[in-house]
């Protein structure tokens, strides 16, 4: 009969301790490195004294402890094909005066990314980290007739 005790014990020990438990969920680090730029908006679109169009936008950011600079992106007509128009930008107001030529009107989309640095958990080294993008803002520019 001892064999049945042994097999019973093996079964129940297998059930209770034999299989490893799932690990605890790791805590997310990416929320605390860089905040999302807030209040991103296009303030105005006007022309320079030489007649070039320019678009002025601004934003704020709540925590600058890991912030190094910003990158500004622009898309023409569509809101999904963005190209970088300014990198290593350290101010909170940006003027885009390099608009492409257009006939009657053009719709422009802008967004801004904060660029900072994070500490690699495994190596301890400081590495570049691109933070969450600000909400996209857009403006339609029309040439006066």
């Amino acid at each position: 009969m001892n064999i049945f005790f042994a097999i019973s014990l093996v079964f129940f020990l297998f059930c209770s301790n034999g299989c490893e438990k799932s690990e605890e969920l790791i805590s997310p680090y990416h929320y605390s490195i860089l905040p999302k730029p807030s209040g991103f908006k296009i303030i105005k679109a006007d022309t320079t004294t030489t007649g070039k169009w320019r678009v002025t936008m601004s934003w704020t950011i709540s925590d600058t402890s890991n912030l190094k600079h910003f990158e500004v992106f622009r898309s023409i007509k569509y809101s999904d094909i963005f190209k970088i128009i300014q990198s290593n930008y350290t101010s909170y107001t940006f003027i885009d005066s390099s608009l492409p030529s257009f006939t009657d009107s053009v719709k422009l989309f802008y967004k801004v990314f904060p660029i900072g640095q994070k500490t690699d958990i495994r190596t301890g080294a400081k590495v570049t980290f691109t933070g969450p993008e600000a909400d996209i803002d857009s403006i339609t520019i029309k040439k006066p007739k």
Binding site: F5, S8, S22, E23, I26, D120
Partner: protein, 196 residues
């Protein structure tokens, strides 16, 4: 949960241990009689013989096969199917659990290496999904393991106390042989000796 397991084990041991003290165990003769130590009517341990011991060995390693061997084919089949189903479920769940763990390790590596918030956020969502899936597989594995163990234990208890030998219609092909032709030697050939 561990307390429940412990209580179950103790009850199982107490039950089998009590049966040991109440009945004499097997000794040298192929057919052994039971000597009741008390006058309690239940449980009634069936008479032990070579077939009973062989079936016990079957039931120990494949639950239900001992009952099948003794002629309780429906009961034996149900126990076997139930045990195998829960056991296979436990194995599959454990395999999925291991796969989830490996996937989590890879995702964690990518997550810690991410250089963009968007990528990190996407990986983080995947980590949460896989972690939840791993929890579900862990639960399924635990439940299936306990069901398997429970069926095994009930199978042994059923075999010891509630399964009578219905005859020699067992796994062998002796069904078509005249009973008179079945000698003790032939039965010995088709049976397995288990020294307990």
């Amino acid at each position: 949960m561990k307390i429940v397991q412990l209580v179950f084990i103790l009850l199982l041991m107490a039950q089998i241990g009590a049966s040991q003290t109440r009945y004499t165990s097997l000794e040298n003769s192929p057919t052994l009689t039971i000597k009741e130590m008390s006058s309690d009517p239940v449980p009634i341990m069936p008479e032990w013989n070579v077939r009973k011991i062989t079936g016990l060995a079957y039931s120990t390693f494949v639950p239900g096969s001992g009952q099948f061997y003794l002629g309780h084919k429906l009961k034996g089949s149900l126990i076997t199917v139930g045990f195998l189903a829960s056991f296979v479920t436990a194995i599959v769940s454990h395999n999925n659990f291991i796969s989830n763990r490996e996937r989590l390790d890879n995702l964690k590596y990518e997550y810690y290496s991410a250089d963009r918030y968007a990528l990190a956020e996407e990986l983080w969502k995947q980590i949460k999904e896989v972690h939840d899936e791993q929890k579900v597989n862990e639960r399924k594995r635990t439940i299936s393991s306990f069901i398997s163990a429970g069926i095994w234990a009930l199978n042994i208890i059923d075999y010891l106390f509630f399964t009578d030998d219905l005859g020699v219609a067992d796994f062998s092909n002796t069904l078509k042989i005249n009973d008179n032709l079945i000698s003790t030697d032939l039965q010995t050939i088709f049976s397995i000796r288990v020294p307990l």
